[in-house]
Amino acid sequence: MRDRLAGISLLPLSSWLVAFFLVPLGMICAISLATTDLVGTPIFALEFSNYSALLDPLYVPVVIRTLAYAGAATALCILLGYPAAYTVARLGGRHRHAIILLIALPWFVDYLIRIYAWLAILGGNGLLNNVLHQLGLTNAAGLSFVGHSYTVILGLTYSYLPFMILTIYVAVDQMDPRVIEAGKDLYGGPWSTFFYVTLPTTLQGIVAGSLLVFLPALGDFATVQFLGGANQTMIGNLIVNDFSTVGNAPQAAAWTVVIIGSMVMVLVMASLVARIRRRGATHRIGSDVVLGGTG
């Protein structure tokens, strides 16, 4: 009886995902093979040139850059997010939920308003330049903080850091304090306890958080649009620009299919590795948590 109830409760969201996620993706696949008429209407066909066009050597730096930016932002998010999440979860006491809410505060303010605030801080006549100028560190021209790769990475980090903090926070918060106590008895110092006990236990949080940062960062376009400069295009920008250029929709669809395809491949490989590992060891690695656990 209860099993049937549980079985039925699987239905709404899974059929929803089929209807409003899987089927639309199928349409994108169809459009990636389409041609267009004069005004850019997709005409369904079998036009593989949309894919071969992606092999243009001009796009190689764009692909590498996208991976590098997303990777750098993920690394920064771990470096900034782990200590912060750990501190709040373990030392935050009764107020830790309130502090976490404060960390989520940026989400309450519209995305564009936030980015504009960064421009007001980092822009040519921005607050940072004003301070530097007042201190006599720069001349009136100021420094251009906008338009560099580090600005884009900072922007990506800023946008996705709350994901990392929240994920790690949950992982640390759910740790049994007795495990740490046992670890301390076993390893002695706080550092070794951290590296041998806390870190491995919360590793799945880090991996899940990394995927939640890395993958959306791969598809991000707005950060570059606002904070980037020349030669900083990411794949997301190519897709959005293609979609808003008459006649290029199939090209954009082809990019989308390639991105999702490589993502699926990475996930499948991660899951295979996890399966092999699991035969030897009992602990589950994080990628499997995202596949099987987180989602």
Binding site: D3, L5, A6, S9, L10, L11, P12, L13, S14, W16, L17, F20, F21, L25, I28, I31, P83, A84, Y86, T87, R90, L91, G93, H97, A98, L101, L102, L105, P106, F108, D110, L112, I113, R114, Y116, A117, A120, G123, N125, P162, D173, Q174, R178, I180, E181, K184, P190, T193, F194, T198, P216, G219, D220, G236, T256, I260, M263, L291, T294, G295
Partner: protein, 285 residues
């Protein structure tokens, strides 16, 4: 890090730490200082938004004087208020439906041993990991070219429910994995029907997770630009889309007043929500 023993509520608080207190305090101080810097990084742009919302002049890059002018202008701006209302409607529906079907799916995934659950899990994972732009554009073509629908408030809601449901499912599922089946089984043994069992034995334990996830999903939905943009149509301009449009035709400090108002309202709502759920539940289990 022995940091943990500091927590007053931790069962381990009674543990006697042989190490000198000062070195531990120093470590804690360093950790808090670092967290403070991270917090500043996250909140600095928000301070700028607040600051500029009281700007005396029409500029989003120079501060001069102090005024409530932009607030007055904001609250007289029907277009902004209408978008705000639409965004609230979208987020409310997306949260309510997403929370319901997300919780159901979590329950189904944890409490059945069907082979299909692996497939469903993977589908959900893929949906959350696919770039939002891709899904949004796909939905646009699906609704318009595929189904020939009129884009409306409803289509935006559909787009939002997809990610809302999956996010809620993830959070609730994690919580469910920590809830033993014994209580439910006991309730069933005592003759309670399955629905009653869920209502009385399971939901109370899941409630904090569902509420927390709902709050999170509401925020995500309210802040969403990409999906809102591609799935909105006649007479529907969700707030983030309107702001994007406003930016194109000259930024006005009004948007800073709007940002500040949103922040204040959300903080108040969150405090209200959290006090309803009960701060006490925040205690470590």
């Amino acid at each position: 890090m022995t940091a943990t023993v500091e927590s007053a509520e931790s069962p381990a608080a009674t543990h006697v730490d042989a190490r000198p207190r000062s070195s531990r305090n120093l470590r804690h101080l360093a950790l808090w200082a670092f967290t403070g810097v991270v917090g500043l990084f996250l909140l600095a742009p928000l301070l700028v938004v607040v600051l500029f919302s009281f700007n005396g002049i029409k500029s989003v890059s120079h501060l001069e004087g102090f005024s409530f002018h932009w607030y007055a202008k904001l609250w007289g701006n029907e277009v902004i208020l209408r978008s705000l209302r639409q965004s609230l409607e979208i987020s409310a529906v997306a949260t309510a439906v997403g929370a319901t079907i997300g919780t159901m799916l979590a329950f189904g995934l944890v409490r059945t041993r069907l082979g299909a659950t692996r497939v469903v899990e993977r589908l959900a994972a893929l949906s959350i990991l696919t770039p939002e732009t891709a899904i949004a554009i796909a939905l646009f073509y699906f609704f318009t070219v595929g189904l020939g629908l009129e884009l409306s408030l409803l289509t935006v809601m559909v787009g939002h429910i997809t990610f809302s449901g999956v996010f809620v499912m993830i959070v609730v599922r994690t919580r469910l994995l920590g809830v033993s089946e014994e209580v439910e089984e006991a309730a069933l043994d005592l003759g309670a029907g399955p629905l009653t069992t869920i209502r009385l034995a399971l939901l109370p334990q899941l409630w904090p997770a569902i509420a927390g996830a709902s709050l999170f999903v509401f925020i995500l939905s309210f802040d969403d630009f990409v999906t809102s943009y591609f799935t909105s149509g006649v007479g529907v301009t969700p707030l983030p889309v309107l702001i994007y449009g406003m930016v194109r035709l000259g930024v006005s400090p009004e948007i800073n007043a709007l940002g500040t108002s949103l922040m204040v309202v959300s903080i108040l709502l969150s405090i209200l929500a959290m006090s309803l759920i009960g701060w006490k539940r925040g205690r470590r289990s």
